[in-house]
């Protein structure tokens, strides 16, 4: 199999969401002495980019995108040790968390999976995350994006508190995207969030757009 054919097969496995074949093609690519960064960029992320495009075009919906993300995750279990060994850095780093007072984590977990699928390194702060913890995570290392989730209207104001704290405490606060069942674009605009995603797949698209803009 030629290098191009291996990478194309890998892309197709991701696009079709084949979580058996995706890791197998990563193995084949590694056996073929392809470097980990090329496999990541030209195989996995290129495949996920097509998935993102199909989602934007309305050909794919969340279930399709999530199946692809699962295949991506399966492939990454094989590729990650190689990326580490070859010291390949992620395109960007995102901090994700469910805000203070809120314990609902399924939406946030899906967002984390989709951000990884978009090439982000994800630092998951978990649930019930106070504003200080978001700020601390951004001080500890260079963070390109913060993603916050909330389930109830009672915990939504914590998003605003966290955004204010990032603006107050950090010289260059990263853009914040927000989401969760009761959250709307209007609310995001009102509290000064850089973006809003109605689901995990749109969240990843918004994140990609914001980080591309920031260079």
């Amino acid at each position: 199999m030629s290098t191009t054919a291996i990478l194309e097969s890998l892309q197709s496995a991701i696009i079709d969401g084949d979580e058996q074949k995706a890791p197998q093609f990563v193995q084949t690519a590694l056996a073929d002495k392809l470097d980990a960064q090329t496999i990541l960029e030209k195989g996995l992320l290129a495949g996920m980019a097509v998935v993102g495009q199909r989602f934007r075009d309305g050909d794919y919906f969340l279930p399709e995108v999530l199946i692809s993300a699962e295949a991506m995750k399966a492939a990454m279990t094989v590729l990650s040790p190689m990326l580490k060994a070859q010291n390949v850095k992620a395109r960007a780093t995102a901090v994700v968390g469910t805000v203070r007072g809120d314990l609902h984590d399924i939406g946030k977990n899906l967002v984390a999976i989709m951000l990884e699928g978009a090439g982000f390194e994800v630092i998951d702060l978990g649930v019930d995350v106070p504003p200080e913890k978001f700020a601390q995570a951004c001080r500890d290392r260079k963070v390109d994006l913060v993603a916050m989730s909330a389930l109830l209207t009672t915990t939504m104001p914590e998003m605003e508190s966290a955004i204010r704290m990032l603006q107050r405490e950090l010289p260059n606060p990263p853009p914040v995207i927000i989401g969760g069942a009761p959250v709307t674009q209007q609310y995001a605009d009102r509290i000064g969030a850089a973006g809003y995603g109605r689901d995990a797949a749109s969240g990843a698209e918004v994140a990609r757009g914001l980080c591309a803009k920031a260079g």
């Binding site: 919906f61 399709e64 399966a74 109830l152 209207t153 009672t154």
Partner: protein, 265 residues
């Protein structure tokens, strides 16, 4: 479904109901995931639903606490129970004609939720999301069975029930759950309410069901019966996009109550 007459509900008493077998609405699960007939790879999701339905129904612990109380007064935004507690919200419309109300908390416990979380963390997205959707539907079933138990009681007293009204839906703040939790021994079914009014286990539902003379209760006369919100869980209509919020009254088919304030403001 057969009405459940098994539970000895009594006015003024909290009654614990255990539901051994919770029915599962598979279409509800599909909707929650966002499956369409044309979903690419839809078979994988269907397979996961097939595989998980039985074990997860076995893992769910369906329980509810129900307490029926007489109403002292029912105004447009204020319901006063005979023994004193006050519930605020668009109660005048949602619980119209009620002479008694049943307060309830229903749950399926945390087993399914934990499993779903573990699968998601391990990258098993399909199983994780299917388990979450099944858990949400089973929680709805537990609430539905609680509602049926109240209905059985109401019918045996020549009355009927109004549609269910849950804090956090149109015109009633999630914070009103504090009243329900002060009236019901939630610990008996392992449910806790946080300061921000989130219940744990997460797959839990709380609410109020009105009980009124059967001749006065026509479901279509209640806001949810007239509303054309395309995707509200409280009314269980089919929804396409899983998006739905009746937090904003402008999205809802009923006029806002005079003093409605948006939470989070």
């Amino acid at each position: 479904m057969r009405l459940n007459t098994e539970w000895a509900l009594e006015v003024g008493d909290s009654v614990l109901c255990r539901f051994d077998a919770l029915p599962l609405d598979r279409d509800g699960v599909r909707r929650a995931i966002g499956l369409r007939p044309s979903t690419n790879n839809g078979a994988r999701w269907e397979k996961a639903i097939d595989e998980l339905e039985k074990p997860l129904r076995g893992l769910a612990r369906g329980r509810a606490l129900i307490r029926i109380e007489p109403v002292a007064s029912l105004q447009s935004r204020r319901l006063t129970l005979a023994h004193g507690p006050v519930i605020e919200g668009a109660v005048g419309q949602f619980l119209a004609h009620s002479q008694l109300v049943a307060l309830f908390i229903a749950t399926i416990g945390s087993g399914v939720e934990r499993l779903s979380r573990r699968w998601l963390r391990n990258g098993n997205v399909v199983r994780g999301l299917v388990a979450d959707a099944i858990a949400s539907e089973l929680a709805e079933s537990a609430a539905f069975l609680a509602q049926q138990a109240v209905r059985a009681w109401a019918l045996s007293h020549q009355m009927d029930i109004t549609p269910r009204y849950s804090p956090g839906y149109c015109g009633m703040s999630v914070r009103q759950q504090t009243v329900l939790f002060s009236e019901l021994p939630a610990r008996q079914i392992g449910v806790q309410l946080s300061a921000s009014c989130l219940m744990t286990p997460v797959k839990s539902v709380s609410g109020i069901i009105g009980i009124a003379p059967a001749s006065q209760v026509t479901p279509e006369d209640y806001p949810c019966g007239r509303c054309d919100h395309p995707n509200c869980m409280q009314r269980r209509v089919p929804f396409e996009s899983r998006r739905g919020s009746c937090v904003d009254w402008s999205d809802c088919g009923v006029p806002p109550p005079p003093t409605h304030e948006t939470e989070g403001d």
